[in-house]
Amino acid sequence: MFRKRNLTMSREYAESIINTVREPLIVLDQDLRVVKAGRSFYEFFKVKPEETVGQLIYDLGNKQWNIPKLRELLETILPQKATFDNYEVEHDFATIGRRTLLLNARQIRRVLGMERIILLAIEDITERRRIEEKLGTSEVRFRRLFESAKDGILILDAQTGTIVDVNPFLIELLGYSHIELKGKKVWELGLLKDVIANQDKFLELQQQGYVRYENLPLETSDGQHISVEFVSNVYLEGHTKVVQCNIRNITERKQAEEALRESESRFRMMVENMTDYAIIMLDTGGHVVSWNAGAERIKGYQADEIVGQQFSRFYPKEDIEHGKPEQELSVAAAEGRIKVEGWRVRKDGSLFMADIVITALRDDEGQLRGFVKVTRNITERKRAEEALQVTKETLEEGQRIAHLGNWEWDAVNDKITGSEEFYRLFDAAPEGIARFSQFVERLHPDDKQRVERDVAAALRQDRLYDTDYRVKLSDNSWRDINAKGRAYTDADGKPVRMAGTCLDITERKRAEESISIKKRIGDIFLVISDDEMFHEVLKVILETTQSPHGVFGYLDETGGLVVPTMTHQIWDKCQVPEKSIRFPRETWGDSSWPRALREKRTVHSNRPSANTPEGHVAIQRHISLPILFQGEPIGLFQVANKVSDYSETDIGTLVMIADYVAPVLSARMKRKKAEDEIKQLNVELESRVVERTVQLETTNKELEAFSYSVSHDLRAPLRSIDGFSRIIVEEYANKLDEEGKRLLNVVRSNTQKMGELITDLLNLSRVTRDEMKAVHVNMSTLANSIYHEVASPDVLKRCSFSIEPLPDAYCDPSLMRQVWRNLISNAIKFTSRQDEQKIEIKGRTEDGTNIYSIKDSGVGFDPRYSHRLFGAFQRLHKAEEFEGTGVGLAVVQRIVHRHGGRVWAEGAIGGGATFHFSLPLKENRYEQ
């Protein structure tokens, strides 16, 4: 019993211990089954007693504990040793993960009533192992770092200052060996110049735990002076305080810094003094850091007003709103630099055009430190550039419009350059006309030699170069160009280059050609007869279209084509008998030229004609062109068999000639038609004239005969009447009384009158019939003599007669004599009864006629009847008053009219009369 109670007490004692112990504890029996486990065990491994106690250890946690190493311990090691400590086991537990455990195991015999129990104490050293590992890794790392560091590392004992460790870099740097350094005090190193100071510093270090020298001068073992950065830290290594010194060789850096400082100051000076460029430094945020004289000048701000300000204030408002400054900075930062042109604002608000380069500044590590901004005022330059650009564009435009290009030939290097228009004129790319030989290649074969000569002459004699030539274009057509230029010499007088212009003169040449063709044709029309005209015009069109064969014809009234001429070869070949052949419209058919005429358009082909009639010339190529006038065809041009194909130019030339020829041809043909008509009319007229003349002559003869017979036959009886009645009066007077005598006298006087009448009538008719022979007549003399002829002595005595000088007349003298006789007789007659008898004769020349006037102071006449004055047998006075037959004035009128003049009279009853007649001057004379 006691034993049992002791046992129980032991067991309770053991259990309490087991449960109290902090580390997991587990008791196994000899079969390795769990007898008991401590609370810590259950907590640690997160298992329950129910699932643990009684289990085989290896079965714990679903056989989690089936660990080979555990088996080794429990079954192999422990039986031999009975105790084993610090058995490390690592295992990945399902419940708690991977753990590193340290086991203490005890085998105890005959305790607690059991044969054998095993005690397992478990310590979780997972963390510790981790730390140790880390430490180990750190240790390794540290070691590695220590060994390979490019800085010197010195480990000192903090208390004594003794060098504990030195890394290889420092060894190399200082030139001392490991052995030399280790164990020494740090200030004993000969390299630390100022020992005392160093000791003090060491004290400082001990106190503060940290010391730093930025620039410590050292001397290596071989006397080299170096500068180092010296940093020291104090820390604990285990229980010991150690000082770690980091030593960086900053000799190079210092030198670089020195150089940099030097260049910086140089640079600064340069920047400071530069006034044409604003050079400012910006920080990364765009604030102004530095400001040079140029910036002051260009932007207007003093340095102190602007440093620290945002550089965006130099931008115009819109740019700021659009975030331009920031954009530019970021581009500079991204790409290293940015070059822009833009408007910037001065201090006074005025704008200027700036050329800006912003360069990003980076340090050795590539970190952005800031920016340098270089600004230049290019307002003037910009304006000049723009003006130049405008000028350039204007020039180019002008050149384009004027088809004028300029060129330059570097004779030394044989290089040709030119303006856009120049290349366009030559229809070439710059490469295609870069050398002189290429230029010559493009010329017309006939022009090549001449142009080369001209160029040589210009070069040799420094003469002005002015020549025309043709260049071949890509479509194989030719362009006429006039080139002008001059040669330039170097200092020695050797020609080195030529420069000049090229002008497209195709239009001008074409116009000149047109003019010369037109002139030629114009001359033809002027000078040459109709027959030859066709031939000559044909020659012109053959020449200008370089055709050996051709036709020029016209359409007659029937619409048929008449060809007055063909080229001679065709004559011979076509065996045409007549000189001119006619194609009646019905026979035209459908070949080219009838189509051209019918359809009123040009028909041309550069292919051989399919159907050539026998004996005719084969047509290789031709142009058939109708000559249109006012929309209707009046003629035809045809040219054929030019050596090369007919071009649009050829057609154009023919059209031009046709247009020019058309009106003249039409006029010619109209004229010819009119001429023919006139000829016809003339022929008719001739015959009619002949007829009429014959008639007239007959009539004249009849009239002559009539007047002859009148004069003879009428007079004879009159004579008889008069004579015999006279005889009666004389011889039978005694048988007649007064009345009888009177009656007989009446008979006599009437017969006389009748005789006068007959005379006058005869006169009148003769005056009309007789041939007029016009000569110069002195009218003054004539009038005067007539007066003296007509006037009786009595009249001469009593009448006052005056005659002014009269202009000579060109007239028939005998007829004019009658005129004067009649007029003067009338004047005398009608003044005979007046108290005042005055006759005045005047004359004047007026408007190409001579006007003669005779004024009398006679009885005058009633002007109401003046229109009857000049009628035959018209009398305005009674026979008793004034004798006369009334034919006199009719005769005057007839004669004057025959001379192409007029008669008229003025008068008043009782107031005299003035008679005028006019005669045209010789030049104006015409005969009725």
């Binding site: 002859y708 004069s711 003879h712 004879a716 004579r719 008069d722 004579g723 015999f724 009645s725 005789g755």
Partner: protein, 146 residues
């Protein structure tokens, strides 16, 4: 001699002939006047042919008064005949006519007429003209014919 014809009057108009004779008579010039009434007779007379073949040409006439408008042979023909013959061309011929035609005048003178007088309608003037002629040609003018 009394047979001598002094004046040959060639006049177809009997009235005119009568008047002419009266005029001549009035002025005592009508002693030996022969009258023929047409051209043929005139020529016969002057050249002593047919009817007048017995006439002696030596006996005149001393002057011929010739009218132009004559039947049968025209006056100008007579003139031509007379002036064309050497035997008769010396006889003064005085054309006494009413024709004023210039061509008659010119032709007459071409043919050799000695004088060309127009017959006035007025009888008095006619008589005067005849008288003048007579006086002139018979008395004043020296005739080649004796």
């Amino acid at each position: 001699m009394n047979n001598e014809v002094e004046i040959l009057l060639v006049e177809d108009n009997p009235n005119d002939a009568e008047l002419a004779l009266r005029a001549l008579k009035k002025h005592n010039l009508a002693n030996n006047v022969a009258v023929v009434t047409d051209g043929e007779e005139a020529i016969d007379f002057v050249f002593a042919r047919s009817k007048y073949e017995h006439r002696k040409t030596e006996s005149g006439p001393r002057i011929i008064l010739l009218d132009l408008k004559l039947p049968k042979v025209d006056g100008l023909e007579v003139l031509r005949a007379i002036k064309g013959d050497p035997r008769t061309k010396i006889i003064p011929v005085i054309v006494l006519t009413s024709s004023r035609e210039e061509k008659d005048i010119v032709e007459s003178y071409k043919l050799g007429v000695n004088s060309y007088i127009l017959k006035p309608v007025d009888f008095d003037k006619f008589v005067d003209a005849v008288k003048e002629i007579g006086y002139y040609w018979l008395l004043l003018n020296q005739s080649p014919i004796k």
